[in-house]
Symmetry: C2
Subunit: 359 residues, 2 copies
Amino acid sequence: MFLNRLENVYKIMEQEGLSQTIVSDKNALFYLYGKWFNVGERMIALLLRIDETPILVLNDLFSFEDKDTKIVYFNDKESGPDKLLPYIIHHKALGIDKFFPSRFLISLMNLHAASAFKTCMAIDYARFVKDMDEQKLMIESSHINDLCMEDFKCALRIGMSEKEMQEECYKIYKKHGIDRVSFTPIVAFKATAADPHHEPDDKTILEAGDMVLFDVGGVYKDYCSDMTRVFFTAEPTAFQREIYNLVRRANEEAIKHIKPGVALKDIDKIARDIIDSAGYGEYFNHRLGHFIGIEDHDFGDVSLSSDIIAKPGMIFSIEPGIYIKDKIGVRIEDLVMVTKTGVKVLNEYPKDIQVLDLK
Amino acid sequence: MFLNRLENVYKIMEQEGLSQTIVSDKNALFYLYGKWFNVGERMIALLLRIDETPILVLNDLFSFEDKDTKIVYFNDKESGPDKLLPYIIHHKALGIDKFFPSRFLISLMNLHAASAFKTCMAIDYARFVKDMDEQKLMIESSHINDLCMEDFKCALRIGMSEKEMQEECYKIYKKHGIDRVSFTPIVAFKATAADPHHEPDDKTILEAGDMVLFDVGGVYKDYCSDMTRVFFTAEPTAFQREIYNLVRRANEEAIKHIKPGVALKDIDKIARDIIDSAGYGEYFNHRLGHFIGIEDHDFGDVSLSSDIIAKPGMIFSIEPGIYIKDKIGVRIEDLVMVTKTGVKVLNEYPKDIQVLDLK
């Protein structure tokens, strides 16, 4: 168990007035143990008590040892909640992480396990700030994503379908040692890019003059990358250039203002104001960014309704976009890390207009 | 919405004494709508009320129409549970499906949304019995899995690693039009097969004399297949033959006794007794089978602790095995469907001992 991470979680629990909490989300458990528990439909519950050794209640099919944890096993004929019960302080509130399955929670409620049940976001808050080990992995993960993006660009051929290019993406990741993607790679050749979650298809074929959008990320040693770039296959029209440069300016200006103490909602506003004042505000219809790490969407975002204040070690995406249906879709996305004095951009892949000469 | 499926769910809710229930699991929603809702961290809740049109509370990013459903949208600034509240009958118990995220459930509890909260398995029980459309898809899915198994066998080469063979499996599925697997294909060349969940690796190389185990399944039109076969690369030893034939007999005898009205725990016992009485009982350390359909593990199993009685339309696996560490691992698995008069085996791939002459 990473005891420094656990200490952070305890601190946040105390701030939230909780002395005990259940952690069951496998990403949260990975954060604490550096190990994936894949228990399927079976219960897994780590009980964190500020006054006690952590207690992990686990099905005996998944044997596990950790010197900092007391392990309590149940078998398939026993009930997980029953086994957990003796370790919960009944006269106090019990925190519950956000994804504990309802059937186990309802069992604990029926057992009157605690005086109250409260959603506990302590681990999610702890994960906002990446420690040094995590920072290193995130930097390397984005570095590899940069290298892959260059290969994606070089693999483009007139006449190929989005789906074919998507399959190339998987091969290229593999070539760079990446077996698992952060999310299904998005490849969009035409105005299909106006759907931010476009699913590449067989029938959209790359033609000379198309713009090409890649929104892609790989998982390096369990840490996710995520980047979006747009390429041109012919000299851009004045309109394409206007939209592209506008999105790029929104991306770069937002990034420029990131430093410790800044409210993330203000960073969203900087990007949004730039696109708004050029008259395209209605076409930027999503938040500016999201946190990322063990999951491609860690909890927390960069949006007008975000209450998060930038702290050193936070890593999130900055991804303004303009989406005009049947016409154009442009998004430019980097991962950034808040440093002690400002910001480090994890993606070094260029954002200049690139016009490709494709065969 | 499939109204016949909904009717079944209502019937089971009434048997359980529930007049209202929340469905949020995406597999359950697919079962009712034939559509995948991928809403990520956002709330989705279908409120089924016996006296009312179903109400689907959904984030407005995921617009959806269905003539049999009232849709209620919330946006990212609003609370899903708040939007759901007016439609719940507060003085009655509320059923909750098994995976509704705890944070939404806790919100509903804090809003005193209902007189009690109960785990509701109505959709899981409804899904026990496949309707005609589902049966057809399951039969076709297993038929394709049979064809793939033959191709897997033919792709084996002395000197290849388990990992290489696993990659061949993906290619072969693709060739047969299967883009998505039910689960990561298991390929085991040696005593690695003694781990029922073995993860194929780079260092286990196929040598003449090895036994080869494939536990594989593909997803055809959203319905899963799942089958295990073992091949020999040299004439089996007496011991290998004994273990193989024993597992095969357990598989075939269990299947032979399946018909409507039979308790699934008795089917488990038939297979287990055969292996037990040959002296290998301790090496068959898992349940005999599991239900399957939209998920590779649908709710419900064939085990000594199962209370399920066979009904026409039920589909589950029959997969006895013997696992002796560092020595041997054999499992033989078919999917079977209970019919009006007996049982139909969905896998027609042969179970005779096959000795391959590999290069």
